[in-house]
């Protein structure tokens, strides 16, 4: 998908001012004011009166709501609309890796990932020997009903001759379940084109309205890729003990992919800020020794390679990262934007305050059940701790802004940024 159009985009004064404010904070130099930038998802559409089910199924309505909420909230960056995954596409795919509102869940719940062992404990050898073949013929049929016929295909290297293209491939394509699958996939593609077109148009409208898009591309830590998507929490945690070498080999396998896919998405979209949501490396999840062996090296490589490409890695440190701060302190100064959920603020300031801009951390609990004066006090507290070198951007702790947040609490963030966070 491309955000480019025939007419070259000329950024407005407001657009440039917002972008500068954001990058000043990232570089740990004082902007004119503490920026507000959010990874909010369903909050944005709810703020304009849409149900979560509508936000995932009606692309036009969602785009309208996104633009209107962005203008009304007036943050320094527009939140990422691609998080409103298209439920008609998921439906046509028969996707099993998610449950979503309007289908499995009531209309105002968020979609949720269904974690399972989509790859079994004894399948590492197959993955490592032939990753593409394994994913196409074994993993995809487990993840989506529509893709089950892929399991009928012969090993893909059998197709490497003109004879086998006729005898195997052409024959397979004629088999009724494969034929049905291909027909269904055409519908999937048509539907996805509608979604992508609406998104591309929206991104242009956001830019024209003066709001840079916070992110378009995302990458995962290689350990998370395996743990979240393939082996599950239980499976991957057991692999740490039962088959550590194979787990490490799989991490090596997915590291270049994580880097390349993020670079590719940044190039096509022109948006250089890469969101990296982190899951299993939080303090309390694994020991520092395990973090050092299984989690951090490949994540560090990912972050450093993105920096080398001139991109801005934006890891979201979900959970409590206090015990991991010494590792984060290894990263280069002013080149990473760290979004924090829970962390000891004083320790964070001390250990990484001169390394990376601090983003997020306004408690979800407060946004959902608290009141505006609590929020303003909290923002002031953050500014008191992190404001001295300008390295602070405001957002909620998790989900950017939780969908269930009270609007007046969310509006209080920007009010407090202006009131307490005007540097000059």
């Amino acid at each position: 998908m491309s955000t480019q159009s025939d007419i070259p985009f000329v950024p407005s004064k407001e657009y440039l001012a917002r972008e500068k404010r954001f990058y000043d904070a990232v570089a740990l130099t004082k902007p004119d004011r503490v920026p507000v930038a959010s990874l909010a998802a369903f909050f944005v559409t709810r703020y304009s009166g849409l149900t979560n089910a509508e936000a995932m199924s009606d692309y036009e309505k969602t785009a309208k709501a996104w633009l209107s909420s962005t203008k009304k909230l007036n943050w320094d960056m527009a939140p990422p609309p691609f998080t409103m995954f298209p439920s008609p596409v998921m439906e046509k795919l028969g996707l099993r890796t998610f449950v979503w509102p309007g289908k499995h869940l009531s209309e105002n719940l968020p979609y949720q990932f269904v974690e399972k062992e989509y790859m079994l404990a004894d399948e590492y050898d197959e993955l490592l020997a032939n990753p593409s073949d394994f994913v196409i013929r074994k993993v995809l049929p487990r993840m989506a009903e529509s893709l089950e016929p892929l399991g009928l295909l012969p090993p893909l290297h059998w197709l490497s001759s003109g004879y086998t293209i006729i005898m195997f491939l052409a024959s397979m394509v004629g088999v009724p379940p494969v034929k049905n699958m291909l027909q269904k996939l055409i519908e999937v593609g048509d539907e996805m084109n509608k979604f992508n077109a609406a998104q591309a148009k929206l991104i242009q409208e956001l830019a024209s309205a003066g709001y840079p898009l916070i992110t378009f591309a995302f990458a995962q830590a290689p350990f998370d890729w395996i743990s979240d998507n393939l082996r599950g929490m239980r499976g991957s945690m057991l692999d740490i003990y039962r088959q550590p070498d194979k787990l490490l080999a799989a991490i090596d396998l997915f590291t270049p992919f994580a880097i390349q896919s993020a670079i590719g998405a940044a190039k096509t979209s022109g948006i250089t800020r890469i969101f990296i949501p982190l899951h299993r490396g939080a303090g309390g999840f694994m020991s520092n020794e395990q973090f050092e062996k299984f989690y951090w090296p490949s994540l560090r490589t990912l972050i450093l390679e993105l920096i080398k490409e001139g991109l801005l890695p934006m890891p979201f440190f979900e959970g409590d990262y206090t015990s991991r701060l010494p590792y984060l302190a290894e990263l280069p100064r002013g080149k990473v934007l760290g979004h924090f959920d829970v962390v000891d603020l004083v320790k964070a300031k001390k250990m990484i305050g001169d390394i990376m801009c601090f983003w997020g951390n306004i408690p979800a609990q407060m946004l959902v059940t608290g009141n505006p004066s609590q929020i303003k006090d909290y923002v002031k507290h953050l500014i008191d701790i992190f404001g001295d070198n300008g390295g602070l951007i405001l957002d909620g702790s998790v989900d950017g802004i939780p969908p269930e947040s009270k609007p007046e609490n969310v509006e209080a963030i920007m009010e407090a940024a202006v009131e307490y966070g005007t540097y000059s």
Binding site: V99, L105, S106, L109, P110, Q112, V114, E115, M233, R234, M237, L238, I240, Y241, R242, G284, F285, M286, S287, Q290, E318, G319, S323, P363, A364, Q365, M366, V368, T369, G370, S397, V398, D399, P402, P403, E404
Partner: protein, 207 residues
């Protein structure tokens, strides 16, 4: 040998733990002694988890070792070894939330710490908690939730328990986005950050 088994489990030597179990049984050790060693090992692991000396991989692996040892012992037990349970807990992830990793760990730690646990699974409506609490006579209900969407159903479940007249039942809540402010919001009696906090609370409430 008992001590060796405790050590093998706490040091996460899975193969050794199973080997020692088999050796003990072949040497004519009472299966109940093997179970006692497992219990001791889990107590040590629980303490290490509390102090930050072991983490989720260890809890999950210890659970796996325990499961396998129980399978080995089962045919040799004259009758089901009835561990004395000193309290009942009903646990589940609240309505609308399908996350079960943390809930499973809490249920497991409550179980090995002597509680009879009724696990209702995920996406559990308030009335299901009420029914299970009535049926089991549990005095403690544990509500889990990973997402912020869990706040409202937690509150609704606390209210449903009260409305059903189960007023002396205590409710604890836990999950990624839970704190004291959410405890007050939901009307729960307690909240905790991890599995051992749940065990401690349940112990206190049953004392």
């Amino acid at each position: 040998m008992s001590q060796e088994l405790v050590q093998a489990i706490t040091e996460m030597r899975e193969e050794d733990a199973l080997k020692i179990t088999n050796q003990m049984l072949e040497a004519g050790t009472d299966p109940l002694e093997v179970l006692e060693a497992c219990r001791n090992a889990m107590e040590i692991i629980g303490k290490q988890f509390e102090t930050g000396d072991c983490f989720i991989p260890e809890l999950i692996l210890a659970g796996e070792m325990l499961k396998q040892i129980s399978e080995i012992i089962k045919p040799r037990l004259k009758k089901e070894a009835v561990q004395k349970k000193f309290g009942k807990v009903v646990i589940g992830t609240v309505e609308g939330d399908i996350h079960d990793i943390a809930k499973n760990i809490v249920a497991f730690m409550l179980d090995i710490n002597g509680f009879e646990v009724t696990d209702l699974g995920v996406d559990v409506p308030p009335m299901k908690f009420v029914e299970a609490t009535r049926q089991t006579g549990a005095k403690v209900v544990a509500l889990s939730g990973f997402l912020t969407l869990a706040y409202d159903p937690m509150k609704a479940t606390v209210e449903a328990l009260k409305a059903a007249g189960l007023k002396d039942v205590k409710v604890m809540i836990g999950g990624g986005q839970i704190d004291e402010q959410i405890r007050q919001f939901t009307g729960a009696d307690g909240w905790g950050r991890d599995a051992m906090a749940a065990v401690k609370m349940a112990n206190q409430w049953y004392r």
